[in-house]
Amino acid sequence: MSDPSDKLPFGRRRRTAASALVVVLIAFGVGVLLNAPAMKKTALELPYGGARSVRLALVSPAAAVSHWLFLDRPARYASSLLGRPDPGPEPVQVVVVPTPTPEPSAVTKGDKGDKGQNDGGQTPVAERPLPRPYAGHPMHLYIAGDSMAGIPGMALVNMAKDTKLIKPLLDYRISTGLVRPDFFNWPLQLQEQMKSFDPGAVVVMWGANDNQGLETSSGKVHQFGSDGWKKEYRKRIEDVIAILFAGGVRRIYWVGQPVMPDATYDRQIRLMNDLFESAAARHDGVTYVDAYQLFSNANGGYTQYLEDDNGETQQVREADGEHLTYAGGQRLAKAVMAAIKADWLTQAKKDGSGDAGAGTPASPSAKASPARSATPAP
């Protein structure tokens, strides 16, 4: 470090604090105007409530001034030039929830001998025998969720690849869920993935960010936990299931949220888990994976450490207490994989068409595989 009185290289000038304040104020003020669309978008994405209203009250006038002075244009033009999404709030996208009319393709959902596809569509898709993946024709597995799905999703991808019969695609989006399609529109994303990836099975895991108010299509805001909220959230779960089945998905594995350290948050999680589980129970082809039980201690409470299959104690939750560690992700992925294998690969092994990993028992110990399905084994 240099003495305050010494000279700076290449004649660099020291300036006064007042000069610095001018720079900071201009950079801040003009910066706010130039970035007003993005700031308004960020404010809109906050949970419904006082903080959001205050932020919007501050940002909205800046956004209006920015627009009036054409100062929002540079960011928009720059984004457009660089192929980036528009920095401002996205227009509301209407998602049409289609009526399930499944027509699974032979490539991703079964082999050529899948008799279930040749009955003129009379048999409900979930009740048809599942097609068997074989070498060169893997079952496409799409994994969707929020940040909680990240690590277990990655572990699941590794396990799926090891089977050589499942082609996984992990698509987790941080801070997303089902309550704020204005932040990230999962139904739209699912519809697009149904077309582009054409999955035979889908694993979903949401809820960790959904403990906040939601807005219905009529514009009414329901705070978390209210009857209106539960009704709307239930509808959104049903919409997701409808979109997936309509896209030709044969099995959905709905992963609940694990036990949480904070009592309030844990209650909220349990409420959502109940909704997930009851939705799964209502639909054939939807399996609920009980992560809550899988990550609870012997007393059903929260723990950061659990024993793995080898009897070694592992830290399963990150330092934040909520997200899963690598070991925790493995634990959850194993449970999901056991359910997937029971559905898709057990038969394959009997036929000799599967290999590594195929044929894992469909229902090992409850602790190892807490998946519960309303679907009878095919």
Binding site: S19, V22, V30, A78, V157, Q304, A319
Partner: protein
Amino acid sequence: MLFPTITFAVFFLLVFVGSWLLMPRPRLWKPFILIASCVFYGWWEWRFVLLLVVSAVANQLFAAAIQGARTRSARKWLLAGAVAANLGVLGWFKYYGFFVTSVVNFLGAFGLNADLPLLRIVLPIGISFLTFRVLSYVIDVYRGSLRTASMLDFGVYVSFFPYTLAGPIARASEFLPQLRAPRDPRRVDTSRAFFLIFAGLAKKMLLADYLATHIVNGVFTTPGQYTSLETLVGIIGYAVQIYCDFSAYADIAIGISLLLGFELPDNFEAPYTAVSVQDFWRRWHMTLSRWLRDYLYIPLGGSRKGQVRTYVNLMLTMVLGGLWHGAGWTFIFWGFLFGGALVIEHRRLDVRRARAARRRRTAAGAGGRAMSEYGPSGAVAGDRGAFELDRSARALAAMGGGPAFRAPAAGVTPPGATAVIAAPGPATTAPPQPLQYDRRPWGGGWLPRIGVFAFVTFAWVFFRSPTFGAALSVLAQLFRGWGGVGAAVTPAVLLVIIVGIGVQYVPRTFYQRLQAGFSVLNPVVQGLVLAIGFMLLDVLGPTGPASFLYFKF
């Protein structure tokens, strides 16, 4: 509170104005900055402000007791108590889980059941940095190189918000003197400050976060999904990511401090241009390597107790340095790799020095001159390695600390040159001539640079991976995924990697000229340039701020 957020921008604006308004009145300014720092730290979890308070009070009491102790023995015991207390707190928060699971699993392997309580402990952000900061104060007071500060001054030092979360590790001897007099509002190095803040944000948002989301995270978590080339690019990408992420935080912290009138020590100096591992540690996380050198390596004996002890001390220092980063065997192994590399380099230099000494003896004849074979201990400070600064460092400390002592970087030495640095040694009538030999373990030029970068990048695999198994999976994929380039290797990813490394090869003078040019602009123009720059960062950067990697250390 994260730096790249509007919340922090508003917070800083208020603190900046308040700080300069109150600066002429230290009695008001100090409580103000103390409260502001507590708000910053407590924004995430207010209860951890108590940790700052307890740490400040306890260490101040220890320091005062050490300074007031009459006997050397009492001072020693008090120091031991302070070190134990600080490391105990750090161990509780950071290593408890690692310790308990290691013990339980170790005993479990022998069929023994250790019923140790597994508690959920929330790790306070930046506790490792805090521990090293306060220890530097207590140890310097013990050594007599620093007088105790007032409680208020020490509180400001402990909590000063720019460096609280992830360094640089400013020592008490570097920071406290700046509190003795108000900062001069007429002489603020604003140009460098704005440059560092902007450069830090750009490195973080455009380079580090881009690499993390587009290739690194995937390669390290689902290696089986990637080709060999993708894996290689992902591994190199992580080396660039961690540099851009960590140095970005340091840059922003230094820049913010400068705007408030305070100077913090540099933390990085183009680390991937290093020509040896020693050189790397003089350029990477410089405040940590200086800390380890002065408060761990030298007290262990440094290089004063023979070659074997030197090697042991190096290894111990690096392994503990690895453990400092995280509670896990992979971090320990990472430290072990660097310790091993430093030992090899020191061994090469020791052999070379012995040969040079023999040559000189031969040249001087059987009688020989009255000259030490190896020269005085520490005589080659600066170019003998990252932890070879014993006497000079202690001499500086004894002189009252002052500004950070910078070891001369080996890269500065012209290729092929032999170091002829005169050494601060014992007073003699005629200063001894230093031995003539190349102090760079692997010479100069591109080959050692590439080799060191390859080694460091390899070591990062263990640093990044949660387990050995995961690290080996990534490394194995380098040989298993042949065939095709892979979709993750895009021109943009390659460009970001090239830029991330390339900026380190741009001469320092280029950046200094830029800063000088910016400094003479009208403040209004400066503000407009920055505003447009921030807009471009926002357009080009990722959605939502990502936390800095070093927060968890």
